[in-house]
């Protein structure tokens, strides 16, 4: 069999990244805006003020546009699993299949039912039943996100499964361990709370645009008040869950943490890089003593504390992770990359022998070797230890962008709450808030870049690198679909922006048009 061409790996990744990133333009707005509109409708039901009904209805309209545009863009990812990532799809078996099937069936029906009531039921069902539908719509959407994130978390930290060499699949042995793995829980909380931040930024941004234009003053101020409270709470939760995510990657994906921090040489009492500039072209794999930063500002001890909850804690850098020979938290000594690659090859070879052998004793012997070395299975596909190092600049800068923006959003929401009604006099603040809208997407996308680029080369951490996960296709066919998607999704995005812009320009219903 011909070896896999590295450009096939790159194009398959590019295609998946493009689709996922476009999909992720729509999803966080659905999750975030959904909660804001539900809070507004709750205010309507509690106070009986028509003002809140009109306000809720306006944001629901924008929610509906975004939902219609975004719904089903995720299905393309599932097509790609079957065509471009067939080894991966087979290998993960029901671990991936079950969460996706449940999300597909349960959440989809739940959402569609309640969304219908939400849009068409204003005068047909009671106020409370309508409010319940609105909340259930957004809860349904959030549950969909839960299942997808469980699947993603499993790829970052595979637990609750056992590899069956007869079927060549991982089979779920502990559903709870998969569904409630600590990585899945934290990932869900960080993803959802950060999407709330994005929804809140969108609402204050659009509202400030009205203030700048001198339109819908009361509506804008009411929306800002709700969204700024919600946004402030969400940003604080995001910072907290982000901190927990940092701890997770320290435990389960130390190479991702080292890349995000630009930590080549690890040690105890490590500082967290608050900001810095990497030396362009620095070698992050080779072992010379070059300083890899042009500039760096550190918070002393903070990285050690984040990773180990101990100011003196040891944090391995890229070199240490490749060379091994340091103490792991459980007291054992870390293996070198070379050693893990050797064990991986032993595991793959044992799988081949197991499947070729027929005498039971030979099969049993091969199986024993496979089981013993399975934790390193994926390392057996790597040609050099350097392949274990993800792109440091991309991971490092994306991480800084996300965290800095996270800090900025806290200040922004707190500032808007302090200003209150006075924001109407501060044109520059209004403009700044409008310009913040795209930054919320930048932060969110950067988060995924950290999570996904930072875990390269793995499709499944430790078990399956991309080079083994992809299907053997023609590079040209993957390129073709890449450009088809680029065109189609861009068209969809332009349509979304156009329709959304038109609805925003039309503004909320005024008193006379409400019913």
């Amino acid at each position: 069999m011909e070896p896999i061409d590295s450009s096939l790996v790159d194009w398959s990744r590019a295609q998946f990244a493009l689709t996922a990133m476009y999909h992720w333009l729509f999803v966080p707005l659905t999750l975030g805006l959904g909660v804001v509109m539900a809070i507004m409708e709750t205010l309507y039901v509690r106070t009986g003020r028509e003002f809140w009904k009109r306000t809720a209805r306006f944001w629901m309209k924008l929610f509906g546009i975004n939902f219609a545009m975004g719904v089903a863009t995720g299905i393309i990812l599932e097509f790609e699993f079957g065509t471009n990532w067939s080894n991966y799809s087979w290998f993960v078996g029901d671990i991936f299949g079950a969460p996706l099937a449940i999300e597909g069936i349960l959440a989809f029906f739940m959402e569609s039912t309640f969304i219908a009531v939400m849009y068409f039921g204003w005068n047909k069902v009671s106020k409370r039943a309508h409010l319940a539908s609105t909340w259930l719509t957004i809860i349904g959407a959030t549950i969909s996100a839960w299942w997808i994130l469980v699947a993603n978390a499993w790829m970052q930290h595979p637990v609750g499964m056992e590899f069956n060499p007869d079927t060549v699949r991982n089979e779920m042995v502990d559903f709870a361990a998969v569904a409630f793995s600590p990585v899945a829980v934290v990932k869900f909380c960080h993803t959802v709370t950060s999407s709330w931040v994005l929804g809140a930024v969108f609402v204050v941004g659009v509202s400030c645009w009205y203030l700048l234009r001198g339109r819908h003053r009361e509506f804008a101020l009411g929306s800002i008040r709700v969204a700024a409270w919600f946004g402030l709470a969400a940003s604080l939760l995001t910072a907290h869950t982000g901190h927990l995510s940092g701890r997770d990657i320290a435990l389960y994906q130390p190479m991702k943490l080292a890349a995000a921090e630009g930590l080549y040489e690890g040690g105890t009492e490590q500082g967290l890089v608050l900001g810095g500039i990497l030396r362009p072209g620095a070698d992050w794999v080779g072992g010379n003593g070059d300083d890899r930063f042009l500039l760096k500002v550190e918070l002393p001890y903070a990285l050690s504390y984040l990773a180990t909850h101990d100011l003196q804690g040891y944090v391995p850098g890229i070199r240490n992770l490749l060379e091994g020979d340091y103490r792991l938290p459980d007291g054992s000594v870390a293996l070198s990359a070379e050693e893990m690659m050797k064990r991986g090859r032993v595991a793959i070879d044992a799988l081949a022998r197991y499947r070729a052998a027929s005498p039971p004793e030979e099969k049993a012997a091969a199986l024993a070797v496979l089981r013993e070395n399975f934790p390193w299975f994926g390392y057996g596909y790597l040609k050099s230890p350097g392949e274990l190092v993800p792109s440091v600049p991309l991971t490092f800068y994306s991480f800084r962008i996300m965290v800095m923006l996270g800090g900025y959003f806290i200040v922004l929401f707190a500032g808007l709450l302090l200003l209150g009604q006075r924001v109407t006099r501060w044109k520059l603040v209004q403009l700044a808030v409008v310009l913040t809208i795209p930054l919320a997407w930048l932060a969110s996308q950067s988060g995924w870049v950290v999570a996904e680029v930072g875990r390269q080369p793995w499709a499944i951490q430790g078990l399956l690198p991309n080079v083994a996960a992809i299907s053997r296709l023609d590079v040209s066919s993957v390129q073709t679909t890449f450009f088809i998607f680029l065109a189609l999704f861009t068209l969809l995005l332009v349509a979304e922006l156009g329709i959304m812009g038109k609805a925003i320009a039309a503004g909320p219903e005024t008193d006379s048009t409400s019913n």
């Binding site: 546009i65 097509f79 081949a352």
Partner: protein, 52 residues
Amino acid sequence: MTLGRTLWCIILIKLFIMFAVLRVFFFPAYLQGDDQEKQQRVSDELTERIAP
């Protein structure tokens, strides 16, 4: 309501392109045959891609 109509049109066109065009012409299932054949195919691929 023209907005609703536009959105439904977009949803339907999108689903049509996805399922009737993309799925059929660009995303055939890569693994063919029954489960036995799929297992063997994946097993061959996984064991033969081992690093030299």
